[in-house]
Symmetry: D2
């Protein structure tokens, strides 16, 4: 019997539970051997749903689990970096949920730790990189079907959650550009090339439904433009107030064509004809949209660890993405456009 | 000033009023000079809406209108043939609403009258022949984009009208296959070729919402198959109970491709994202779907009369279509499949 | 550790290999312990891809595999019934690919065998029953969203395979109505109710691309109508010559609305804007369309065996579906409509 | 006979010819009595296509045409304002193509002239205001179907014209934000309210296919953000390099829903299924998309003149739109964000 990757899951909240189940049930070459959560309710959930998995309430203890080879970090964002670094230092492969941190410096510290252990696979969980549609579009672009990609539009739009959850969440999320558009930024870097250098960043936003977000310097609808040196431009939209559900979409516009990913969102393949017209439903949250991408992510990360394959993208990109996200968030709050020179060094914002 | 076609409109009911307005306002080379209706309310409507047009309550009088060159016949179906023949005999061009008659023999009598006046333009108003989408699809087929057309699917589906109108209407409509699918049959003859010969006809149907239709030997949902000699087959659906609106659609399936016309019905280009999903409305009736086709029909008929152009299709096709429609209706009621030989002669339906 | 269902896979051809992999890798509660194939090349494939699974070249030997609890039968259609019956008699749960047999009598013999072992789970693999979209549509219908379902339209349309494969295949497939439309028939029975009684059956078809199919009494495009007692009608289309790919779709038309499943086929969520317009690709084969349904099928069958749950549908339905499919195929070849009385007993087809 | 509006058309180029034909043939209550063009080829076209219309090669002479009541100004943009003012001073109603001018001051001078003749109807031809889809969306928003409109996204994207036409055109067009996005800006003012006050403007752009545009300080792809006081934000995209055709679309995002207009562009209702997938074509230019809106515009302008109705929108909006367009174009070229106070007064751009 080929040995399976012995993996642990840190965090069993909304996202952690999904990762744990995916590694437990839908990743044939991995074996989920351990999980960590400090939350009693989640411990109980684990006992009921993760048969045969050792549950820890102390992260450091979990790292000592015999034979452990890899860790998926899916705790709260503020804990990502520290736990990832500890795992790296303990010699474990790491799949860390995005973002590594809402701070550029802290994100970089994860990269620094990983650099010291080049035999380890350390990946930031940009799930859209594993989505079949994004991959199909990338391959078409790569094959020249749209000429030279020049304009990139992407949005991450969540369904309206009237519970107020996002207000509390905003205290630690890093803001809408870091929390939501980080995905779109990462996609732009993927499609435009990871070596793209930002020329300018500007953003604005409003609080249409949750004015209390302002106390965390956040908004519920944000628009930003990121210019790259070399004649490329990306623009982003993020929102917390979509009525119909999650609508994440992207357009890659080239000199000879355009690729649209999810311009027509849909859930199942069902359309209902009723007296008010024709209606279809769309996924209510990002997991509804990207569930299969998460499963692919788990399987490909596992294969990379076991077979010593190159990961599909570099960890440094996660720092780039946070850097751009933070600059957008800063511009949102300062009202200033931020400029960078051709080496990527930030210029003084304003001059007379 | 180039002379305009002096035209009159017989009938100012639902469809007649539309024809009258189209010739009055949207057909630059025609002048609506007269209209006929025996209905007082419609006379009043005409005085308010058809400025400068002489209104007659006697059809024969209208035919004597000085300078009259053409007549559009848009009265009740039972009057079509007689009025068309009178107009032909009076030397007028005729655009007759479909069907010429619900009887094959009476339909043929219009053709016979027209044959005697070869200089006149006599056309049956198969409006879909003038629709931009159907023409686009036909041209693509004609250009070989789908190989050899082999299977034809077409439906005419009306919005549910809970008023019971269709029950009364069924007394004279000829039945759902003659009234609704006549359009689809005509399209099949257009796309497959006007010289196609029917091999067999079979139909069935149900009364899902209007059981009283049975007293007129009609149904509210009908399905039929028409086989043609030479390896072609068409199948049809008609319904009176669509919730969302009018959904007339067609597929032409060839050996190398397929053309779908209105598979995705839509009204305006607006989509509404709301808490129950994404919704669009569709036209509520056939005029909402085919308004522009009717305007094109008016203009092309006018041009054909003025310039002595060949009409886009032959009058004999209208008899063919009624013949097939009547055979479907007969099959619906007899439960028997009806067969024809390679010359189109009906074979004895097998009976014990 | 909860015990897993010990399952074997009979047949490792196109479909068998997929079932084997699904039970091996994507069905957490099952363990694929054995597989059978008489084909040397497939044995080799199994050694490379089914690690830890015992491979048999004799079906009877495989049935004796220690601890075996269940068998998935995915060999050629002609072997389905015999192998299923043997497995049942050996006390194994059975998931048998559709159809049980192309013969009604032989299909019934599987049911008869299963009846004698009521503790066993015996299911015919109608994969669309496990598809998320079909289930969503069914639930909406069941919740009354379209009123009373009355008209059912469904098609199974394969991509054109110019290799001629389907000609050879037609010798044993039972014909296009039994091979393709069997799915649509099963769906009609699901949506209309498993107790629906057929009133009449009529079919026609053509050989547009593969005239040699006639030697097996088959066609490459078939159209059929099935009338049910109680005012319901279903009509079906099947084709072997779709240019763009697999297009299986269904409409359920009720008195207050309509459900359309896959009216707008799509593969990924990508649209390509290019100089010739906007283009999207669709799945090339039925597995591309229904892959997730097969995975769900494997998991639900496994759960039913382990937990002694009721299967989602009855085995007798598989006989009903074959019976209707065979009647359509017979009508295609005889040119006769076939009628049944209200108890489902066939009436004499009228003959001179 | 009710008197018809005696109207003249200034300019018979691409757009002028369309206006002339629309007033000549498709505006029943108007009579095109005169037209002006200094171009000999256009004079010839007019003699062939505008029967009965007096053709002038001198604009001032045309204004003296006996009985003339109204003028549609459709010459080159640089002539719009002067000709409009002359017509106003001569007591004619004016429908002036957009923009009044690429200069805010000159645009304002048209408004000033119109103010002095309050009995005249003076309208800037924002054709999208007359489009059935935009009107449908506006009514839905106005009826509260999406809550409070908060974010507005709109794009005007032309098909790639490899002839280089747009480079020469850019010398006088005012730039892509004034030429293309002016429509989107006008729509934003319509949907957000004509009294909306701009808070900030920022833009960027690239020359992906036509680097020579830089000599006219223009780009072929532009992105801009316009913030309004009161918590509203609009963002715009314009492009000259769409492969598939014209794709003008808009989203209005409210606190309870979203309206999308033309998210799924389409030409006819035909879809072609071929070996490379499913394809549809879209209009190649804006007239293909908005033809019916131009006809509606002609008819409603005519009705407003004849019946002394209020025009559907105010002339001052045309100055607002140009002002915003010019600010976007300035920001594109300066690289600076431009801010405005709550009264709309421009603030110093940069501060230390």
């Amino acid at each position: 019997m080929a040995p399976k990757l012995q993996i642990a899951c840190a965090g069993l909240g909304r996202m952690g539970a999904r990762h744990a189940l995916n590694f437990h049930n839908r990743t044939p070459r991995a074996e989920l051997v351990a999980a960590f959560t400090p939350v009693q309710k989640e411990v109980e959930w684990a006992h009921a749903n993760l048969e045969g998995v050792t549950i820890y309430t102390d992260y450091d203890e979990m790292l000592k689990h015999p034979g452990l080879q890899a860790v998926v970090v899916a705790t709260v964002t503020t804990a990502h970096a520290e736990e990832a670094i500890k795992a790296i230092e303990a010699g474990k492969h790491v799949l860390c949920e995005k973002p590594l941190s809402t701070s550029v410096e802290i994100s970089q510290s994860v990269v620094d730790a990983a650099v010291k252990k080049p035999h380890l696979k350390v990946m930031c969980g940009f799930s859209r990189r594993f989505d079949a549609s994004y991959r199909d579009a990338f391959n078409r672009m790569d094959n020249g079907q749209i000429g030279r990609p020049s304009v990139f539009r992407s949005q991450t739009c969540d369904r309206l959650d009237p519970s107020g959850f996002f207000v509390a969440y905003a205290e630690f999320s890093g803001g809408i550009f870091v929390d939501c558009n980080i995905h779109d930024i990462d996609l732009a870097l993927w499609y435009f090339g990871q070596d793209s250098i930002v020329k300018s960043v500007v953003a604005t936003g409003i609080t249409a439904v949750q004015p209390e977000l302002r106390k965390h310097k956040d908004v519920d609808n944000g628009v930003g433009i990121v210019e790259f040196w070399g004649g490329k431009v990306a623009y982003f939209y993020s929102s917390r107030m979509m009525a119909a559900g999650q609508h994440d979409m992207t357009e890659v516009i080239g000199t000879e064509g355009k690729l649209a990913i999810n311009a027509n969102p849909t859930g199942t393949l069902v359309e209902l004809h009723e007296s008010t017209g024709i209606r279809r439903e769309i996924p209510h949250d990002y997991y509804g949209r990207f569930e299969h991408a998460f499963v692919t992510e788990a399987n490909e990360f596992t294969a990379a660890c076991l077979d010593n394959n190159t990961l599909p993208f570099k960890l440094t990109g996660a720092v780039q993405a946070v850097k751009i996200g933070c600059a957008l968030q800063e511009s949102l709050n300062s009202g200033q456009k931020i400029n960078f020179d051709e080496t990527g060094r930030r210029l003084e914002t304003s001059r007379l």
